[in-house]
Subunit: 319 residues, 2 copies
Protein backbone atom coordinates (compact mmCIF):
# COMPACT_ATOMS: atom_id res chain seq x y z
CA UNK A 1 0.00 0.00 0.00
CA UNK A 2 1.10 3.56 -0.55
CA UNK A 3 -0.29 7.06 -0.28
CA UNK A 4 -1.52 8.85 -3.40
CA UNK A 5 -2.44 12.53 -3.57
CA UNK A 6 -3.99 14.97 -6.01
CA UNK A 7 -2.94 18.49 -5.05
CA UNK A 8 -4.77 21.28 -6.85
CA UNK A 9 -5.18 25.00 -6.35
CA UNK A 10 -8.45 24.53 -4.45
CA UNK A 11 -8.40 21.06 -2.87
CA UNK A 12 -5.89 18.46 -1.73
CA UNK A 13 -7.15 14.90 -2.10
CA UNK A 14 -5.50 11.86 -0.56
CA UNK A 15 -6.12 8.13 -0.59
CA UNK A 16 -4.42 4.79 -0.17
CA UNK A 17 -3.54 2.78 -3.27
CA UNK A 18 -3.10 -0.98 -3.32
CA UNK A 19 -2.22 -3.22 -6.25
CA UNK A 20 -4.08 -6.44 -6.98
CA UNK A 21 -2.53 -9.69 -8.18
CA UNK A 22 -3.59 -8.95 -11.76
CA UNK A 23 -1.90 -5.51 -11.87
CA UNK A 24 -5.12 -3.67 -10.97
CA UNK A 25 -5.15 -0.63 -8.69
CA UNK A 26 -7.59 -0.25 -5.79
CA UNK A 27 -8.11 3.16 -4.16
CA UNK A 28 -9.44 3.42 -0.58
CA UNK A 29 -9.58 5.82 2.39
CA UNK A 30 -10.26 8.79 0.11
CA UNK A 31 -10.32 12.16 1.86
CA UNK A 32 -10.58 15.71 0.51
CA UNK A 33 -9.19 18.81 2.25
CA UNK A 34 -9.92 22.43 1.42
CA UNK A 35 -6.50 23.88 0.70
CA UNK A 36 -7.43 27.27 2.11
CA UNK A 37 -7.73 25.82 5.61
CA UNK A 38 -4.04 24.95 5.77
CA UNK A 39 -1.06 27.32 5.66
CA UNK A 40 1.40 24.53 4.96
CA UNK A 41 0.97 21.52 2.74
CA UNK A 42 2.82 19.30 5.24
CA UNK A 43 0.04 19.88 7.77
CA UNK A 44 -2.58 18.70 5.28
CA UNK A 45 -0.73 15.50 4.44
CA UNK A 46 0.10 14.81 8.10
CA UNK A 47 -3.53 15.23 9.03
CA UNK A 48 -4.53 12.63 6.44
CA UNK A 49 -1.82 10.21 7.60
CA UNK A 50 -2.84 10.58 11.23
CA UNK A 51 -6.44 9.94 10.25
CA UNK A 52 -5.70 6.59 8.63
CA UNK A 53 -3.55 5.49 11.56
CA UNK A 54 -0.72 3.96 9.49
CA UNK A 55 2.30 5.87 8.18
CA UNK A 56 2.99 4.69 4.61
CA UNK A 57 6.56 4.48 3.37
CA UNK A 58 5.75 5.93 -0.04
CA UNK A 59 3.68 8.93 -1.19
CA UNK A 60 2.99 9.64 -4.86
CA UNK A 61 1.58 13.14 -5.37
CA UNK A 62 0.04 14.57 -8.54
CA UNK A 63 0.49 18.34 -8.33
CA UNK A 64 -0.98 21.18 -10.41
CA UNK A 65 2.29 22.71 -11.59
CA UNK A 66 5.50 21.94 -13.47
CA UNK A 67 7.96 19.68 -11.57
CA UNK A 68 11.66 20.58 -11.58
CA UNK A 69 14.24 18.56 -9.62
CA UNK A 70 11.71 17.14 -7.19
CA UNK A 71 10.18 20.53 -6.50
CA UNK A 72 7.02 22.28 -7.64
CA UNK A 73 5.34 25.63 -6.99
CA UNK A 74 1.60 25.28 -7.46
CA UNK A 75 0.43 27.27 -10.46
CA UNK A 76 -2.58 28.76 -8.69
CA UNK A 77 -1.59 28.73 -5.01
CA UNK A 78 1.32 29.92 -2.86
CA UNK A 79 2.33 26.39 -1.79
CA UNK A 80 5.77 25.14 -2.77
CA UNK A 81 6.37 21.39 -2.47
CA UNK A 82 9.79 19.78 -2.21
CA UNK A 83 10.00 15.98 -2.23
CA UNK A 84 12.94 15.75 0.21
CA UNK A 85 11.49 18.26 2.67
CA UNK A 86 8.12 16.50 2.62
CA UNK A 87 9.78 13.15 3.20
CA UNK A 88 11.41 14.56 6.34
CA UNK A 89 8.52 16.59 7.74
CA UNK A 90 5.92 13.87 7.11
CA UNK A 91 8.25 10.96 8.01
CA UNK A 92 7.56 9.14 4.73
CA UNK A 93 10.62 7.36 3.25
CA UNK A 94 9.97 8.30 -0.36
CA UNK A 95 7.90 11.16 -1.81
CA UNK A 96 7.42 11.24 -5.56
CA UNK A 97 5.98 14.34 -7.29
CA UNK A 98 4.43 14.35 -10.73
CA UNK A 99 2.36 16.75 -12.79
CA UNK A 100 -1.36 16.33 -12.14
CA UNK A 101 -2.24 16.22 -15.82
CA UNK A 102 0.34 13.53 -16.44
CA UNK A 103 -1.37 11.53 -13.69
CA UNK A 104 -4.79 12.36 -15.14
CA UNK A 105 -3.61 11.18 -18.55
CA UNK A 106 -2.27 7.89 -17.23
CA UNK A 107 -5.55 7.20 -15.46
CA UNK A 108 -7.22 7.08 -18.87
CA UNK A 109 -5.44 3.82 -19.64
CA UNK A 110 -6.63 2.31 -16.33
CA UNK A 111 -10.23 3.34 -15.60
CA UNK A 112 -13.46 1.89 -16.96
CA UNK A 113 -16.24 3.28 -19.12
CA UNK A 114 -18.30 4.16 -16.04
CA UNK A 115 -15.79 6.92 -15.27
CA UNK A 116 -17.01 8.88 -18.29
CA UNK A 117 -19.98 10.61 -19.86
CA UNK A 118 -19.90 10.49 -23.68
CA UNK A 119 -20.02 14.02 -25.09
CA UNK A 120 -19.51 13.14 -28.74
CA UNK A 121 -19.57 9.81 -30.56
CA UNK A 122 -16.74 9.07 -32.93
CA UNK A 123 -14.16 6.51 -33.92
CA UNK A 124 -10.80 6.71 -32.18
CA UNK A 125 -7.93 5.93 -34.54
CA UNK A 126 -5.59 3.18 -33.36
CA UNK A 127 -2.05 4.23 -32.61
CA UNK A 128 -2.88 7.96 -32.72
CA UNK A 129 -2.31 10.56 -29.98
CA UNK A 130 -4.98 11.19 -27.36
CA UNK A 131 -5.65 14.55 -25.74
CA UNK A 132 -6.50 14.87 -22.04
CA UNK A 133 -7.37 18.48 -21.20
CA UNK A 134 -9.72 20.67 -19.25
CA UNK A 135 -10.23 23.21 -16.48
CA UNK A 136 -9.81 22.81 -12.75
CA UNK A 137 -8.38 25.82 -10.93
CA UNK A 138 -6.28 26.37 -14.06
CA UNK A 139 -6.55 24.51 -17.38
CA UNK A 140 -4.30 21.50 -17.86
CA UNK A 141 -3.45 19.70 -21.09
CA UNK A 142 -1.53 16.57 -21.85
CA UNK A 143 -0.96 14.59 -25.05
CA UNK A 144 -0.69 10.83 -24.83
CA UNK A 145 1.68 9.80 -27.61
CA UNK A 146 1.63 6.15 -28.66
CA UNK A 147 5.07 4.59 -28.60
CA UNK A 148 5.86 0.89 -28.96
CA UNK A 149 2.46 -0.30 -27.83
CA UNK A 150 2.10 2.00 -24.82
CA UNK A 151 1.55 5.71 -24.25
CA UNK A 152 4.10 8.37 -23.45
CA UNK A 153 2.57 11.37 -21.62
CA UNK A 154 3.61 14.78 -22.92
CA UNK A 155 2.61 17.45 -20.38
CA UNK A 156 1.74 20.58 -22.34
CA UNK A 157 0.52 24.10 -21.56
CA UNK A 158 -2.45 24.33 -23.91
CA UNK A 159 -4.50 26.19 -21.30
CA UNK A 160 -2.27 29.21 -21.81
CA UNK A 161 -3.01 29.35 -25.53
CA UNK A 162 -5.14 32.31 -26.59
CA UNK A 163 -8.90 32.08 -26.38
CA UNK A 164 -10.64 32.34 -29.76
CA UNK A 165 -13.86 34.39 -29.71
CA UNK A 166 -16.66 32.89 -31.83
CA UNK A 167 -19.94 34.36 -30.52
CA UNK A 168 -21.12 37.86 -29.63
CA UNK A 169 -20.79 36.95 -25.96
CA UNK A 170 -17.22 35.72 -26.56
CA UNK A 171 -16.30 38.98 -28.27
CA UNK A 172 -17.85 41.17 -25.56
CA UNK A 173 -15.96 39.27 -22.85
CA UNK A 174 -12.71 39.49 -24.80
CA UNK A 175 -13.13 43.26 -25.14
CA UNK A 176 -13.56 43.68 -21.39
CA UNK A 177 -10.74 41.35 -20.34
CA UNK A 178 -8.41 42.87 -22.96
CA UNK A 179 -8.54 46.18 -21.09
CA UNK A 180 -6.54 44.59 -18.29
CA UNK A 181 -4.62 41.81 -20.04
CA UNK A 182 -2.50 41.83 -23.19
CA UNK A 183 -3.35 38.18 -23.75
CA UNK A 184 -6.58 36.43 -22.78
CA UNK A 185 -5.94 32.72 -22.49
CA UNK A 186 -8.28 29.73 -22.49
CA UNK A 187 -7.44 29.32 -18.79
CA UNK A 188 -8.57 32.87 -18.02
CA UNK A 189 -12.07 32.08 -19.32
CA UNK A 190 -12.48 28.51 -18.06
CA UNK A 191 -10.20 28.12 -15.01
CA UNK A 192 -11.75 28.16 -11.55
CA UNK A 193 -9.01 30.52 -10.37
CA UNK A 194 -10.29 33.27 -12.70
CA UNK A 195 -14.02 32.98 -12.08
CA UNK A 196 -14.36 36.29 -10.20
CA UNK A 197 -12.96 38.25 -13.13
CA UNK A 198 -15.17 36.41 -15.64
CA UNK A 199 -18.23 36.97 -13.44
CA UNK A 200 -17.47 40.71 -13.24
CA UNK A 201 -17.08 40.90 -17.04
CA UNK A 202 -20.38 39.16 -17.70
CA UNK A 203 -22.15 41.28 -15.04
CA UNK A 204 -20.84 44.36 -16.89
CA UNK A 205 -22.29 43.03 -20.16
CA UNK A 206 -25.63 42.45 -18.42
CA UNK A 207 -25.43 45.95 -16.89
CA UNK A 208 -25.76 44.70 -13.32
CA UNK A 209 -23.65 44.66 -10.16
CA UNK A 210 -21.29 41.72 -9.84
CA UNK A 211 -23.17 39.18 -7.70
CA UNK A 212 -21.52 37.60 -4.65
CA UNK A 213 -21.99 33.93 -5.48
CA UNK A 214 -19.90 30.83 -4.82
CA UNK A 215 -18.71 28.81 -7.84
CA UNK A 216 -21.28 26.16 -6.94
CA UNK A 217 -24.10 28.72 -6.76
CA UNK A 218 -23.15 30.09 -10.18
CA UNK A 219 -23.46 26.62 -11.69
CA UNK A 220 -26.72 25.84 -9.85
CA UNK A 221 -28.28 29.18 -10.84
CA UNK A 222 -27.03 28.72 -14.39
CA UNK A 223 -28.62 25.27 -14.62
CA UNK A 224 -31.85 26.75 -13.23
CA UNK A 225 -31.92 29.32 -16.03
CA UNK A 226 -30.68 32.54 -14.41
CA UNK A 227 -29.50 34.61 -17.40
CA UNK A 228 -26.25 35.95 -15.90
CA UNK A 229 -25.11 32.64 -14.43
CA UNK A 230 -26.14 30.77 -17.56
CA UNK A 231 -23.90 33.05 -19.66
CA UNK A 232 -20.98 32.43 -17.30
CA UNK A 233 -21.42 28.66 -17.56
CA UNK A 234 -22.11 28.74 -21.30
CA UNK A 235 -19.00 30.73 -22.23
CA UNK A 236 -16.84 28.41 -20.16
CA UNK A 237 -18.35 25.32 -21.80
CA UNK A 238 -18.13 26.87 -25.28
CA UNK A 239 -14.49 27.84 -24.81
CA UNK A 240 -13.60 24.39 -23.47
CA UNK A 241 -15.05 22.79 -26.61
CA UNK A 242 -13.52 25.31 -29.05
CA UNK A 243 -10.11 25.03 -27.48
CA UNK A 244 -10.26 21.22 -27.53
CA UNK A 245 -10.81 21.41 -31.30
CA UNK A 246 -7.79 23.67 -31.75
CA UNK A 247 -5.70 21.42 -29.50
CA UNK A 248 -6.82 18.28 -31.33
CA UNK A 249 -5.77 19.77 -34.68
CA UNK A 250 -2.40 20.93 -33.36
CA UNK A 251 -1.66 17.71 -31.48
CA UNK A 252 -3.12 15.31 -34.06
CA UNK A 253 -5.38 13.82 -31.38
CA UNK A 254 -7.26 11.35 -33.57
CA UNK A 255 -7.03 8.79 -30.77
CA UNK A 256 -9.76 10.61 -28.85
CA UNK A 257 -10.25 13.36 -26.31
CA UNK A 258 -10.89 13.14 -22.59
CA UNK A 259 -12.17 16.31 -20.94
CA UNK A 260 -10.79 16.38 -17.41
CA UNK A 261 -10.69 18.68 -14.40
CA UNK A 262 -13.06 19.58 -11.58
CA UNK A 263 -14.59 22.59 -13.32
CA UNK A 264 -15.29 20.55 -16.45
CA UNK A 265 -17.02 17.95 -14.30
CA UNK A 266 -19.25 20.57 -12.67
CA UNK A 267 -20.17 22.02 -16.08
CA UNK A 268 -21.46 18.66 -17.34
CA UNK A 269 -24.98 19.96 -17.98
CA UNK A 270 -23.59 22.61 -20.35
CA UNK A 271 -20.97 20.36 -21.93
CA UNK A 272 -23.52 17.69 -22.79
CA UNK A 273 -25.67 20.20 -24.67
CA UNK A 274 -25.81 19.33 -28.37
CA UNK A 275 -25.30 22.94 -29.54
CA UNK A 276 -22.16 23.28 -27.42
CA UNK A 277 -20.65 20.07 -28.80
CA UNK A 278 -21.45 21.15 -32.36
CA UNK A 279 -18.86 23.92 -31.94
CA UNK A 280 -16.19 21.21 -32.02
CA UNK A 281 -16.52 19.87 -35.56
CA UNK A 282 -17.53 23.33 -36.84
CA UNK A 283 -13.92 24.49 -36.37
CA UNK A 284 -13.00 22.58 -39.55
CA UNK A 285 -16.27 21.85 -41.35
CA UNK A 286 -14.58 20.98 -44.68
CA UNK A 287 -12.40 18.19 -43.30
CA UNK A 288 -13.49 14.98 -41.57
CA UNK A 289 -10.61 15.05 -39.09
CA UNK A 290 -12.60 16.52 -36.18
CA UNK A 291 -15.87 14.77 -37.10
CA UNK A 292 -14.40 11.35 -36.25
CA UNK A 293 -12.82 12.22 -32.90
CA UNK A 294 -14.78 10.90 -29.87
CA UNK A 295 -14.97 13.15 -26.79
CA UNK A 296 -15.62 11.88 -23.27
CA UNK A 297 -16.04 13.81 -20.04
CA UNK A 298 -14.11 12.31 -17.12
CA UNK A 299 -16.49 12.38 -14.15
CA UNK A 300 -14.58 10.09 -11.76
CA UNK A 301 -12.87 12.38 -9.22
CA UNK A 302 -10.54 9.55 -8.16
CA UNK A 303 -9.01 9.34 -11.65
CA UNK A 304 -5.88 11.41 -10.87
CA UNK A 305 -5.21 9.20 -7.85
CA UNK A 306 -5.46 6.06 -9.99
CA UNK A 307 -3.25 7.73 -12.60
CA UNK A 308 -0.63 8.74 -10.04
CA UNK A 309 -0.46 5.17 -8.78
CA UNK A 310 -0.35 3.77 -12.34
CA UNK A 311 2.39 6.14 -13.41
CA UNK A 312 4.49 5.33 -10.34
CA UNK A 313 4.12 1.57 -10.81
CA UNK A 314 5.01 1.80 -14.46
CA UNK A 315 8.06 3.90 -13.74
CA UNK A 316 9.15 1.50 -11.00
CA UNK A 317 8.69 -1.53 -13.26
CA UNK A 318 10.75 0.10 -16.00
CA UNK A 319 13.67 0.85 -13.72
CA UNK B 1 20.66 7.60 -56.83
CA UNK B 2 16.93 8.13 -56.72
CA UNK B 3 14.35 10.74 -57.61
CA UNK B 4 12.95 13.00 -54.88
CA UNK B 5 9.97 15.31 -55.33
CA UNK B 6 8.16 18.02 -53.40
CA UNK B 7 4.63 18.34 -54.75
CA UNK B 8 2.67 21.35 -53.53
CA UNK B 9 -0.47 23.13 -54.57
CA UNK B 10 1.46 25.65 -56.71
CA UNK B 11 4.73 24.00 -57.75
CA UNK B 12 6.18 20.55 -58.29
CA UNK B 13 9.90 20.33 -57.53
CA UNK B 14 12.11 17.40 -58.47
CA UNK B 15 15.75 16.50 -57.96
CA UNK B 16 18.11 13.57 -57.74
CA UNK B 17 19.28 12.40 -54.32
CA UNK B 18 22.50 10.51 -53.70
CA UNK B 19 23.90 9.22 -50.42
CA UNK B 20 27.53 9.73 -49.44
CA UNK B 21 29.71 7.18 -47.63
CA UNK B 22 29.12 8.92 -44.29
CA UNK B 23 25.30 8.76 -44.55
CA UNK B 24 25.06 12.30 -45.95
CA UNK B 25 22.51 13.24 -48.63
CA UNK B 26 23.46 15.20 -51.77
CA UNK B 27 20.74 16.81 -53.89
CA UNK B 28 21.39 17.63 -57.57
CA UNK B 29 19.56 18.30 -60.87
CA UNK B 30 16.91 20.40 -59.09
CA UNK B 31 14.04 21.56 -61.31
CA UNK B 32 10.80 23.40 -60.51
CA UNK B 33 7.57 23.12 -62.54
CA UNK B 34 4.53 25.32 -62.31
CA UNK B 35 1.73 22.89 -61.49
CA UNK B 36 -0.83 24.89 -63.46
CA UNK B 37 0.95 24.10 -66.72
CA UNK B 38 0.22 20.39 -66.43
CA UNK B 39 -3.15 18.64 -66.40
CA UNK B 40 -1.71 15.40 -65.11
CA UNK B 41 0.99 14.93 -62.52
CA UNK B 42 2.49 12.00 -64.50
CA UNK B 43 3.35 14.41 -67.33
CA UNK B 44 5.26 16.67 -64.95
CA UNK B 45 7.33 13.85 -63.49
CA UNK B 46 7.95 12.30 -66.92
CA UNK B 47 9.15 15.65 -68.22
CA UNK B 48 11.68 15.87 -65.39
CA UNK B 49 12.87 12.29 -65.94
CA UNK B 50 13.30 12.85 -69.68
CA UNK B 51 15.29 16.01 -68.90
CA UNK B 52 17.86 14.22 -66.77
CA UNK B 53 18.26 11.46 -69.34
CA UNK B 54 18.26 8.57 -66.82
CA UNK B 55 15.19 6.75 -65.54
CA UNK B 56 15.62 6.15 -61.79
CA UNK B 57 14.22 2.99 -60.23
CA UNK B 58 12.91 4.77 -57.15
CA UNK B 59 10.93 8.00 -56.62
CA UNK B 60 10.22 9.41 -53.16
CA UNK B 61 7.58 12.15 -53.28
CA UNK B 62 6.63 14.56 -50.51
CA UNK B 63 3.04 15.62 -51.20
CA UNK B 64 0.85 18.35 -49.70
CA UNK B 65 -1.98 16.15 -48.44
CA UNK B 66 -2.79 13.18 -46.22
CA UNK B 67 -1.57 9.81 -47.55
CA UNK B 68 -3.90 6.79 -47.36
CA UNK B 69 -2.92 3.40 -48.78
CA UNK B 70 -0.37 4.80 -51.20
CA UNK B 71 -2.75 7.44 -52.50
CA UNK B 72 -3.16 11.15 -51.92
CA UNK B 73 -5.43 13.91 -53.14
CA UNK B 74 -3.64 17.23 -52.98
CA UNK B 75 -5.25 19.50 -50.37
CA UNK B 76 -5.20 22.58 -52.59
CA UNK B 77 -5.22 21.16 -56.13
CA UNK B 78 -7.29 18.71 -58.15
CA UNK B 79 -4.40 16.26 -58.61
CA UNK B 80 -4.76 12.76 -57.21
CA UNK B 81 -1.59 10.70 -56.92
CA UNK B 82 -1.51 6.90 -56.64
CA UNK B 83 1.85 5.23 -56.05
CA UNK B 84 1.09 2.13 -58.16
CA UNK B 85 -0.37 4.10 -61.07
CA UNK B 86 2.63 6.46 -61.08
CA UNK B 87 5.02 3.54 -61.00
CA UNK B 88 3.38 2.19 -64.17
CA UNK B 89 2.86 5.42 -66.09
CA UNK B 90 6.34 6.81 -65.30
CA UNK B 91 8.08 3.42 -65.58
CA UNK B 92 9.72 3.75 -62.14
CA UNK B 93 9.94 0.47 -60.17
CA UNK B 94 9.01 1.93 -56.79
CA UNK B 95 7.13 5.12 -55.97
CA UNK B 96 6.88 6.11 -52.33
CA UNK B 97 4.51 8.89 -51.19
CA UNK B 98 4.80 10.79 -47.92
CA UNK B 99 3.27 13.91 -46.40
CA UNK B 100 5.24 17.04 -47.29
CA UNK B 101 5.35 18.31 -43.73
CA UNK B 102 6.67 14.99 -42.51
CA UNK B 103 9.45 15.36 -45.08
CA UNK B 104 9.99 18.99 -44.07
CA UNK B 105 10.23 17.94 -40.43
CA UNK B 106 12.77 15.22 -41.16
CA UNK B 107 14.94 17.66 -43.09
CA UNK B 108 15.42 19.60 -39.85
CA UNK B 109 17.55 16.79 -38.49
CA UNK B 110 19.72 16.81 -41.65
CA UNK B 111 20.35 20.37 -42.84
CA UNK B 112 22.86 22.91 -41.58
CA UNK B 113 22.56 26.28 -39.88
CA UNK B 114 22.90 28.07 -43.23
CA UNK B 115 19.44 26.80 -44.16
CA UNK B 116 17.88 29.08 -41.54
CA UNK B 117 17.40 32.69 -40.51
CA UNK B 118 17.15 33.12 -36.73
CA UNK B 119 13.87 34.83 -35.85
CA UNK B 120 14.13 34.53 -32.07
CA UNK B 121 17.00 33.49 -29.84
CA UNK B 122 16.29 30.96 -27.13
CA UNK B 123 17.43 27.74 -25.56
CA UNK B 124 16.02 24.54 -27.01
CA UNK B 125 15.31 21.97 -24.31
CA UNK B 126 16.94 18.57 -24.90
CA UNK B 127 14.60 15.68 -25.46
CA UNK B 128 11.54 17.95 -25.92
CA UNK B 129 9.21 18.10 -28.94
CA UNK B 130 9.98 20.38 -31.87
CA UNK B 131 7.36 22.11 -34.00
CA UNK B 132 7.76 22.49 -37.76
CA UNK B 133 4.93 24.61 -39.18
CA UNK B 134 4.12 27.34 -41.63
CA UNK B 135 2.27 28.43 -44.75
CA UNK B 136 2.80 27.38 -48.33
CA UNK B 137 -0.35 27.04 -50.42
CA UNK B 138 -2.02 25.81 -47.21
CA UNK B 139 -0.52 25.75 -43.72
CA UNK B 140 1.24 22.58 -42.62
CA UNK B 141 2.22 21.55 -39.12
CA UNK B 142 4.19 18.65 -37.74
CA UNK B 143 5.43 17.80 -34.25
CA UNK B 144 8.76 16.01 -33.95
CA UNK B 145 8.45 13.84 -30.83
CA UNK B 146 11.70 12.58 -29.28
CA UNK B 147 11.68 8.82 -28.83
CA UNK B 148 14.68 6.67 -27.89
CA UNK B 149 17.26 9.14 -29.15
CA UNK B 150 15.59 9.96 -32.45
CA UNK B 151 12.53 11.85 -33.60
CA UNK B 152 9.13 10.51 -34.54
CA UNK B 153 7.21 12.83 -36.89
CA UNK B 154 3.57 13.43 -35.98
CA UNK B 155 1.79 15.05 -38.95
CA UNK B 156 -0.87 17.38 -37.53
CA UNK B 157 -3.48 19.79 -38.88
CA UNK B 158 -2.66 22.91 -36.87
CA UNK B 159 -3.26 25.13 -39.91
CA UNK B 160 -6.97 24.40 -39.61
CA UNK B 161 -7.12 25.65 -36.04
CA UNK B 162 -9.01 28.92 -35.61
CA UNK B 163 -7.21 32.20 -36.14
CA UNK B 164 -7.04 34.35 -32.98
CA UNK B 165 -7.54 38.08 -33.61
CA UNK B 166 -5.21 40.29 -31.55
CA UNK B 167 -5.07 43.66 -33.36
CA UNK B 168 -7.67 46.02 -34.83
CA UNK B 169 -6.65 44.83 -38.31
CA UNK B 170 -7.06 41.21 -37.20
CA UNK B 171 -10.55 41.92 -35.89
CA UNK B 172 -11.64 43.81 -39.01
CA UNK B 173 -10.45 40.97 -41.26
CA UNK B 174 -12.19 38.38 -39.07
CA UNK B 175 -15.46 40.33 -39.29
CA UNK B 176 -15.32 40.36 -43.10
CA UNK B 177 -14.28 36.72 -43.55
CA UNK B 178 -16.87 35.59 -40.98
CA UNK B 179 -19.63 36.79 -43.29
CA UNK B 180 -18.76 33.94 -45.66
CA UNK B 181 -17.22 31.33 -43.38
CA UNK B 182 -18.42 29.86 -40.07
CA UNK B 183 -14.82 29.24 -39.09
CA UNK B 184 -11.79 31.33 -40.10
CA UNK B 185 -8.67 29.22 -39.78
CA UNK B 186 -5.00 30.15 -39.58
CA UNK B 187 -4.64 28.70 -43.08
CA UNK B 188 -7.31 31.05 -44.43
CA UNK B 189 -5.25 34.07 -43.36
CA UNK B 190 -1.74 32.83 -44.14
CA UNK B 191 -2.03 30.21 -46.89
CA UNK B 192 -1.12 31.12 -50.44
CA UNK B 193 -4.30 29.43 -51.68
CA UNK B 194 -6.47 32.00 -49.88
CA UNK B 195 -4.60 35.17 -50.80
CA UNK B 196 -7.28 36.55 -53.14
CA UNK B 197 -9.89 36.50 -50.41
CA UNK B 198 -7.55 38.11 -47.88
CA UNK B 199 -6.59 40.79 -50.40
CA UNK B 200 -10.26 41.58 -51.06
CA UNK B 201 -10.95 41.83 -47.31
CA UNK B 202 -8.07 44.22 -46.71
CA UNK B 203 -8.99 46.28 -49.79
CA UNK B 204 -12.49 46.61 -48.30
CA UNK B 205 -10.99 47.82 -45.00
CA UNK B 206 -8.91 50.37 -46.95
CA UNK B 207 -12.01 51.39 -48.91
CA UNK B 208 -10.42 50.68 -52.29
CA UNK B 209 -10.98 48.33 -55.22
CA UNK B 210 -9.27 44.95 -54.89
CA UNK B 211 -5.99 45.32 -56.81
CA UNK B 212 -4.98 42.78 -59.46
CA UNK B 213 -1.56 41.85 -58.17
CA UNK B 214 0.45 38.62 -58.19
CA UNK B 215 1.52 37.16 -54.82
CA UNK B 216 5.07 38.30 -55.56
CA UNK B 217 3.94 41.86 -56.36
CA UNK B 218 2.01 42.03 -53.09
CA UNK B 219 5.13 41.14 -51.14
CA UNK B 220 7.36 43.50 -53.16
CA UNK B 221 4.89 46.40 -52.78
CA UNK B 222 4.47 45.59 -49.09
CA UNK B 223 8.21 45.65 -48.52
CA UNK B 224 8.36 48.99 -50.42
CA UNK B 225 5.81 50.46 -47.99
CA UNK B 226 2.52 50.40 -49.96
CA UNK B 227 -0.12 50.59 -47.18
CA UNK B 228 -2.54 47.99 -48.56
CA UNK B 229 0.10 45.41 -49.44
CA UNK B 230 1.94 46.04 -46.18
CA UNK B 231 -1.24 45.22 -44.24
CA UNK B 232 -1.67 41.99 -46.21
CA UNK B 233 1.89 40.91 -45.46
CA UNK B 234 1.76 42.10 -41.85
CA UNK B 235 -1.40 40.23 -40.93
CA UNK B 236 -0.02 37.04 -42.45
CA UNK B 237 3.26 37.40 -40.54
CA UNK B 238 1.44 38.30 -37.30
CA UNK B 239 -0.90 35.34 -37.57
CA UNK B 240 1.96 32.95 -38.33
CA UNK B 241 3.73 34.06 -35.14
CA UNK B 242 0.60 34.05 -32.94
CA UNK B 243 -0.43 30.62 -34.14
CA UNK B 244 3.08 29.23 -33.58
CA UNK B 245 2.80 30.34 -29.94
CA UNK B 246 -0.55 28.58 -29.54
CA UNK B 247 0.81 25.47 -31.26
CA UNK B 248 3.97 25.46 -29.11
CA UNK B 249 1.87 25.59 -25.92
CA UNK B 250 -0.46 22.82 -27.09
CA UNK B 251 2.33 20.59 -28.43
CA UNK B 252 4.86 21.30 -25.66
CA UNK B 253 7.40 22.38 -28.31
CA UNK B 254 10.21 23.39 -25.95
CA UNK B 255 12.70 21.77 -28.33
CA UNK B 256 12.37 24.70 -30.74
CA UNK B 257 10.30 25.88 -33.68
CA UNK B 258 11.09 25.84 -37.37
CA UNK B 259 8.91 28.06 -39.56
CA UNK B 260 8.60 26.34 -42.93
CA UNK B 261 6.75 26.75 -46.22
CA UNK B 262 7.18 28.87 -49.32
CA UNK B 263 4.91 31.71 -48.16
CA UNK B 264 6.78 31.96 -44.84
CA UNK B 265 10.06 32.19 -46.77
CA UNK B 266 8.75 35.02 -48.94
CA UNK B 267 7.51 36.92 -45.88
CA UNK B 268 10.98 36.90 -44.28
CA UNK B 269 11.22 40.71 -44.16
CA UNK B 270 8.02 40.84 -42.07
CA UNK B 271 8.81 37.79 -39.94
CA UNK B 272 12.23 39.15 -38.94
CA UNK B 273 10.67 42.36 -37.65
CA UNK B 274 11.18 42.67 -33.89
CA UNK B 275 7.60 43.82 -33.22
CA UNK B 276 6.18 40.81 -35.07
CA UNK B 277 8.33 38.35 -33.11
CA UNK B 278 7.36 40.02 -29.82
CA UNK B 279 3.81 38.72 -30.40
CA UNK B 280 5.13 35.22 -29.69
CA UNK B 281 6.16 35.48 -26.04
CA UNK B 282 3.33 37.97 -25.35
CA UNK B 283 0.84 35.10 -25.66
CA UNK B 284 1.88 33.95 -22.17
CA UNK B 285 3.74 36.86 -20.57
CA UNK B 286 3.53 35.46 -17.02
CA UNK B 287 5.27 32.17 -17.80
CA UNK B 288 8.79 31.61 -19.15
CA UNK B 289 7.74 28.69 -21.35
CA UNK B 290 7.51 30.67 -24.60
CA UNK B 291 10.38 33.05 -23.74
CA UNK B 292 12.94 30.24 -23.97
CA UNK B 293 11.80 28.67 -27.25
CA UNK B 294 14.07 29.49 -30.22
CA UNK B 295 12.40 30.13 -33.58
CA UNK B 296 14.14 29.72 -36.95
CA UNK B 297 12.86 30.43 -40.44
CA UNK B 298 13.68 27.69 -42.94
CA UNK B 299 14.89 29.45 -46.09
CA UNK B 300 16.39 26.48 -47.95
CA UNK B 301 13.83 25.51 -50.63
CA UNK B 302 15.55 22.13 -51.06
CA UNK B 303 14.79 21.13 -47.47
CA UNK B 304 11.68 19.01 -48.25
CA UNK B 305 13.71 17.10 -50.86
CA UNK B 306 16.47 16.38 -48.33
CA UNK B 307 13.81 15.39 -45.80
CA UNK B 308 12.03 13.07 -48.23
CA UNK B 309 15.32 11.31 -48.95
CA UNK B 310 16.21 11.14 -45.24
CA UNK B 311 12.83 9.73 -44.28
CA UNK B 312 12.98 7.10 -47.01
CA UNK B 313 16.50 6.01 -46.05
CA UNK B 314 15.57 5.78 -42.39
CA UNK B 315 12.48 3.76 -43.17
CA UNK B 316 14.44 1.45 -45.45
CA UNK B 317 17.17 0.96 -42.83
CA UNK B 318 14.59 0.11 -40.18
CA UNK B 319 12.92 -2.55 -42.27
Amino acid sequence: MFLVGDIGGTNARFAIARTTDDQGIVISDFEKFNAQQFDRFDDTMNKFVEGIGVRPSLAVLAVAGPIHNGEVKLTNRSWQLNANDLSRSCRIDEVCLMNDFTAMAFSVTRIGDDSYIDLKQGKALDNAPMLVAGPGTGFGSCLLIPSNGEYHALACEGGHSLFVPRSDLDRAVLDILSRKHDAVSVERICGGGYLDELTAAIAEIHGVQTPALTPQEIIENGEAGDALCRDICQIRADVIISSLANMALVGGARGGIVVAGGVARHLSKFLTDKKTIERFAAVWPQGDFLQHIPIRLLVNPLAPLVGAAAHYLRYENNE
